[in-house]
């Protein structure tokens, strides 16, 4: 199928581009990558040149860049992400548990965001122009402007320190997930609410809705059967985009709440010039992102025949 073929090609291109970009980061940013690797293992400023030479040789970092990259790509082709430069353990052993944790975090955050935004978005649309609509819109717009690095400490202060209701950090059980999930969910909730409101308003003005009302359906039945399903359509793509973004973009929340997920893994990999680790994390995140957006487009196409026809 041309659509799937195009998306498969896009997946391969995106993974290659992202992995090569990550591969280049240690070389285009200031400083010697080998010294960064050593400093990640042993604190301190003084580094013996002999240690730098030995590690360069051991890791094959004296080889031309293309050779190093193609060597990694060849291994990836056989399913091997290589060994971490810092821990000398298989990258896959670090990436998979971290991915599982971040997936849990993101699913919970987006699930929460969708549930809340559907209620708020539909209510705002049905109350368009009235006080309820204005309050919902104002509050959700305000949350868009609040960054995670500000919200997270605030939530810890209120819910962990002042109220003693929830753990302040860690990934030790369901309660420890509440604060990070809440922080991660707030901004998508704002965006989703806005999208649902617009979608529902658009659906409300559609001809088939008026036709349904003229056939004698009650307002509630019309909204339930014809408005909400169409009004929520934009949400599928939006959720997929946010899902992809949060897989690698939850780093601030993961650091503040001490959660060993993908964001933190990627952050550590880049910080320590641990190229195989960063590449492994990026390949998984980008691959999943492309797969998710493809899946969202397919779902969108199934729900909306016009899109399906244009793909065909």
């Amino acid at each position: 199928m041309p659509f799937l073929a195009r998306r498969t090609a896009a997946l391969v291109a995106a993974v290659l581009l992202a992995s090569f970009t990550v591969f280049l980061i240690p070389y285009v940013t200031p400083g010697d990558p080998v010294r960064k690797i050593i400093r990640s293992r042993v604190a301190g400023d003084v580094i013996d040149d002999s240690a730098v030479d030995a590690l360069s040789l051991q890791l094959g970092l004296n080889d031309p860049l293309w050779t190093q990259y193609l060597r990694w790509l060849g291994r990836l082709g056989s399913g091997d992400m290589g060994l971490s430069y810092t821990s000398r353990t298989p990258v896959a052993d670090q990436v998979l548990p971290a991915l599982w944790i971040t997936l849990s975090l993101v699913v919970l955050a987006l699930g929460t965001a969708v549930a809340i935004s559907v209620v708020l978005g539909v209510a705002a649309a049905l109350q368009e122009g009235r006080p309820a609509d204005r309050v919902i819109t104002a509050v959700t717009q305000a949350f868009i402007a609040l960054p995670e690095y500000w919200l997270a400490p605030l939530f810890v202060l209120v819910f962990a320190l002042q109220l003693s209701l929830l753990p302040s950090a860690g990934w030790e059980g369901p309660l420890s997930a509440v604060l990070p999930v809440a922080v991660l969910a707030l901004r998508p909730t704002s965006y989703f609410t806005s999208a649902v409101r617009e979608g529902v308003l658009e659906a409300l003005s559609a001809e088939h809705v008026a036709a349904a009302r003229s056939r004698g359906l009650s307002h509630l039945q019309t909204v339930w059967k014809h408005v909400i399903p169409n009004g929520l359509l934009p949400l599928t793509t939006l959720v997929a985009v946010w899902f992809a973004g949060l897989l690698g973009g939850s780093v601030i929340v993961e650091v503040i709440f001490a959660i060993p997920g993908m964001g933190r893994l990627l952050f550590d990999g880049v910080l320590n010039s641990d190229i195989p680790l960063a590449q492994g994390a990026v390949v998984v995140v980008v691959g999943l992102a492309v797969l998710l957006t493809t899946a969202a487009d397919l779902v969108h196409g199934i729900l909306n025949p016009q899109i399906r026809m244009s793909h065909a």
Binding site: A43, G44, F257, A258
Partner: protein
């Protein structure tokens, strides 16, 4: 009520989190139990092991502070000297050879016996590492061998009185032979210390149980969890909520809240770190000692400590902290004297023909503010300064090659061993490998070389003080403030002794009172 949540939401979270494989022990953290010997505590540490458990890496610090890893000797902060640990005694049998007598009756946590062969195997593992620890590398140790079942001989390439100090470095901790059977080091059940690591959640925590057969006496705690929490604000919050019993390395920003909390005790100690304004002695105008002294006279170090460091540091009196046994006797922090600074500038023939540059390393967030204070202080005496903020890695080549004016940095004087010889040699001798100041003084080099061969600690410390005095007389750098190591503990923790280098936290006598 603590940790309450609607059951429906809890169930949903449980369902999803169980898929991710995370456990459900969180709600127990910080809760109190009746009998003190049944108590477990939580320690929030500021770093996670990045190199697995390789002993030559900083992971050794985590194993040591956890009460798992022990060394042949130990540096006793209160006595200021090396004391026995897994070795009962040691002696220098020839200029290049030291013999260590291994303690009898010690067993590893896997039941095997600690003997000379086991010690040699463990030390050779560190010595032969691809990137060996600076404290115990082939540059400073040429061989390790067992003479008999209880004697280990360490040979050095040059005469060194510091071998017992090297064997106090956490990187030389001893694990049983079984720890080295796999591709990576496995410390689980293979230490000799009061606590036995039993499980690990990578990048999250290490759980330890009491070692019932500990050679050093009865262990008071049932166990502990070391959490790896890199964010300082989170560590601060956890000791306040009671989720952690000990939080290491509290940031200055969290100090006020903790000092106002009656359930928390804040511990401060001089750290071996001094924030320093490095000056490029090899480049004009810093090649003139009067100019360097003028810079020193222009700076208000007390104000700097009080403002930027919010009282978590004290004005520095020189390259060493006053509490260190090698501190310069009677040294006082220089006071700001703008008139003296102006006279020194005139004496140096200084003309403000170009603004001087201070590089503030971004890895130390406070340095940007420190640089601004220095800029203001120097402006008051007619020295224009511009500030550059850069990553350390970006600026390092320029620093080492002498292509800079001033840089703000801080070094840990005792990062390798509990003796400043490495710092004084690398940073200030003519051939020093980390001589950022590009300072060279024959008299200084002679003092340091003499100290390096002086076995008596007191005599050696005296030589260090004399070398430090030369640095101060020559105004090589401006030592700005001595930083404090700040930890916080819950008040029901007993027998806790703060270690400024965070090498020893969990000990056999660490205890927690019951509720």
């Amino acid at each position: 009520m603590r940790f309450s949540l609607p059951s429906s939401l809890s169930l949903g979270l449980v369902a999803l989190l169980s898929l991710s494989g995370c456990g459900f022990s969180g709600s127990a953290a910080g809760t109190k139990q009746a009998a003190s010997t049944d108590q477990r505590i939580v320690v929030d540490n500021f770093r996670a092991p990045v190199a697995n458990w390789a002993l030559e890496s900083d992971a050794a610090y985590i194993l040591s502070l956890s009460g798992c890893l022990e060394t042949l000797t130990r540096y006793d902060e209160s006595q200021g000297k090396i004391v026995p640990s897994l070795a009962t005694e040691w002696k220098q049998v020839s200029p290049l050879e030291w013999d260590f007598t291994i303690r009898e009756g010690v067993k590893f946590q896997d039941g095997s016996v600690l003997n000379a062969d086991a010690v040699v195997g463990s030390l050779r593992n560190v010595l032969n590492a691809d990137v060996p620890a600076r404290a115990f590398s082939p540059k400073v140790v040429s061989a390790v061998k067992a003479l008999d079942d209880h004697t280990v001989r360490v040979t050095t390439p040059t005469e060194s009185p510091l071998v017992p100090y090297r064997l106090a470095s956490v990187n030389t901790g001893v694990l049983s032979p079984a720890a080295f059977q796999g591709e990576t080091v496995d410390p689980f059940g293979h230490c000799t210390g009061p606590f036995k690591p039993v499980s690990e959640k990578p990048k999250q925590s290490l759980t330890l149980d009491r070692n019932e057969d500990y050679w050093g006496g009865e262990v008071q705690l049932a166990g502990a969890e070391i959490r790896f929490i890199t964010d300082g604000a989170t560590r601060t919050a956890q000791v306040q909520t009671g989720e952690a019993d000990v939080s290491l390395s509290i940031p200055v920003s969290g100090l006020a809240a903790l000092e106002g909390d009656s359930n928390v005790k804040v511990l401060k100690a001089d750290s071996p770190r001094t924030a320093t304004l490095y000056m490029n002695n090899g480049k004009a105008p810093f090649d003139d000692v009067d100019f360097r002294k003028a810079v020193r006279s222009a700076l208000d170090l007390d104000a700097l400590a009080a403002s930027v460091y919010e009282g978590a540091a004290v004005a520095a009196s020189g390259p060493f902290a006053p509490s260190e046994p090698w501190a310069i006797e009677g040294a006082e922090a220089p006071k700001q004297d703008l008139e003296a600074a102006k006279k020194l500038l005139a004496s140096a023939g200084y003309s403000a023909d170009r603004p001087l540059e201070i590089v503030a390393i971004v890895e130390r967030a406070e340095f940007a503010d420190v640089a601004t204070v220095i800029q203001d202080n120097l402006k008051a005496v007619g020295v224009p300064v511009k500030i550059q903020t850069k990553e350390y890695a970006a600026v390092e080549p320029d620093l080492l090659s002498g292509n800079y004016d001033m840089v703000l940095s801080q070094r840990n004087r005792l990062i390798d061993i509990a003796d400043p010889i490495g710092f004084l040699t690398a940073d200030y001798t003519c051939d020093g490998t980390y001589n950022l100041s590009h300072f060279c003084n024959a008299e200084y080099d002679k003092k340091v070389a003499q100290a390096a061969k002086t076995p008596d600690a007191e005599e050696r410390y005296k030589l260090y003080a004399e070398a430090g005095q030369i640095l101060q007389d020559q105004a090589v750098n401006v030592w700005l403030v001595n930083e404090q190591a700040i930890d916080a503990v819950r008040t029901d923790l007993q027998a806790h002794v703060q270690d400024p280098l965070s090498r020893y936290v969990l000990r056999a006598d660490t205890a927690k009172s019951g509720s």
